[in-house]
Amino acid sequence: MSVTTDTPRTGLALPTEVSQALYRLVAALLICVVLSFLSDAFLTTSNLLNVLRQTALLFLMASGLTLVILTAGLDLSIGANIGFSACLAAAAIKNTGSPLVGFAVGVSVGAAVGFLNGLLVALLRIPSFIATYGMMWVAWGVTYWFMAGETIHGFPQSFRQLGSGYFLEIPIPIYIMFAFLLLGTIFAQRTVVGQQIYAIGANPMAARLSGIPIERRLILVYVVSGAMAGLASLIVLARINSAEGDIGEHLVLPAIAAVVIGGTSLFGGSGTVAGTLIGALILTLVVNGMNLLLINASWQPLVTGVIVLIAVWIDIRTRRLAD
């Protein structure tokens, strides 16, 4: 199953990975060219900033998910986790009036859900897609019970900056996106723990024999994935200024699509956080294009589903050719 390490892993990004990232960037540019011909509204500063802002949200979710998928796992709970974290953070802000407390609550609730996922996967050895799928429904259930059909809205201006503020005329989420691109890339490529995560996905048996604490690393990636969902939930919350249980519901498939389009293999061990950013950009461009061409938003889940299937199929094909 796991003899798929076509390239040895070193501290440096390898030329094959750089060229793969370039192919994807070219694809993104091609979509841009096509869209600028199809719609006059595409090539405007406000639309492009909008695309990047949407990309930022998707990337933040998908970057944590990338680490999980690098270990050959999956986290299906991030969408429900976003709703759960957002609602608890919203309640915290309403009750304390402090955006900082809300921020802390959002990220830690997300991380806590991730921790539970990690325990189920690493210690109980439940297949990750089953464990996180169950967690998705549990988080959903608790959120609905907690909210009891209400919405929480109206947050302090200082908190709203996180999602809708600007710095030098560029939306704040875009800065956050690049900060986490840097952080994620350094963590994955330049730290021992990051390299251990690749090793676990590439060959779990070898990783265990070489003394990597697999259980602790697995728990870590699920905690990071949950925490990133918590962070993303805060940005959504700050942007739309209202918390409801289902705000993350439709984000799971796009996040998985972003990771896979970005070149991270579902079978673990290969891929980059930078690739995921390009994947998130490509997916956002497609959705933006559909919006600009006035295609009914009802079509988006369908298109995303098809894109996921095609992207995974391409991944499997290229892997087989490489072997």
């Binding site: 299906l76 429904w137 549990v138 498939l253 009802s298 589903g305």
Partner: protein, 316 residues
């Protein structure tokens, strides 16, 4: 009681499957906590409400026994229900509507099977993709609205009786018998056990597993199509989110019933008991006034306990 008879009594207790014990304990607890639980009408209620879940959990058992999974079954159920309602409203013919629902279910089942065998996608990704597609089609068809104006003949399939027995219970009984025959008496069943048990050996024996896998996933889609009849009949309407999440209950029923996700050994009677456990749990929590969102949490915990026990057993 001698020591020997005590020991053999202990052996018998150990051999009683965990799911049956859970079912008995839940029933006792709910009987004590709610006066309406242990009544004949309520038991009939539980069975009627569990019928739809059994229709989905039966093929899910076979799928999980092949180390697969079908996440799309709830969304396909919903889509089939919408197609059924739209067809019957447009043509006035329940038969045509039922055929349309079956075809849409079967098509999705076959598509799942083809994606998993021909395109070699992992089952959870293939069915997650088709879940997105089915859910998307639901939205595209309905624009988020319910379809109403379902004729009374359709409603009869949920509330009607045949020979004094509610029709959903009869449908569930027939489906159970059919799957019992499929799993234990046909080549497909033999392949199901072999696929989960030792896929390599099957390949080395020169048996093509692809066609059998497609049949198994097609059965899942087909049962979702049949289930759509019950779902639509129960609500006398079709709603674009009505069946979402049914796959969770179905997977939970199979897991609680003792079918293992990793070793491919399964047990159809266990799934029947698992469905009853979920049905009793939901019914009892309903009677106690627990909202359905929190019932999901209860089911989740139950599944974790079941998997924990499975995990401990496989280590001994």
């Amino acid at each position: 009681m001698t020591a020997q008879s005590l020991a053999s009594f202990g052996n018998v207790i150990l051999r009683v499957p965990g799911v049956a014990i859970v079912l008995v304990i839940l029933s006792i607890v709910f009987s004590i906590m709610s006066p309406t639980f242990a009544t004949v009408p309520n038991f009939q209620n539980i069975l009627t409400q569990s019928a739809l879940l059994l229709l989905l959990a039966l093929p899910m058992t076979l799928i999980i026994m092949t180390e697969g999974l079908d996440l799309s079954i709830g969304a396909v159920l919903t889509l089939a229900s919408i197609i059924l309602a739209a067809t019957v409203v447009a043509t006035g013919s329940p038969t045509l509507a039922f055929i349309a629902a079956l075809s849409i279910g079967l098509s999705f089942g076959i598509a799942n099977g083809v994606l998993i065998t021909l395109f070699q996608l992992p089952p959870f990704i293939a069915t997650l993709g088709t879940l997105g597609i089915a859910q998307g089609l639901c939205l595209v068809f309905t624009e988020g609205q319910s379809i109403v104006g379902i004729p009374r003949e359709i409603g009869q399939f949920y509330s009607g009786f045949f020979a004094g027995i509610p029709i959903p219970i009869i449908m569930a009984g027939v489906a159970y018998a059919a799957f019992h025959v499929i799993l234990y008496r046909t080549r497909v069943g033999t392949y199901v056990f072999a696929l989960g048990g030792n896929r390599e050996a099957l390949k080395l024996a020169g048996v093509s597993d692809s066609r059998m896998l497609v049949v198994i996933y097609a059965l899942g889609g087909l049962m979702a199509g049949i289930g759509a009849l019950l779902l639509t009949a129960r609500m006398s309407a079709a709603h674009p989110t009505a069946g979402i999440g049914y796959e969770f209950d179905a997977i939970a029923a199979v897991a609680v019933g003792g079918t293992s996700f990793e070793r491919g050994n399964g047990w159809l009677l266990g799934t029947l008991l698992g469905v009853l456990v979920i049905g009793v749990l939901r019914n009892g929590l309903n009677l106690l006034g627990v909202p359905s969102a929190m019932q999901v949490v209860g089911i989740g915990l139950l599944v974790i306990v079941a998997l924990l026990i499975d995990n401990l057993r496989s280590r001994t």
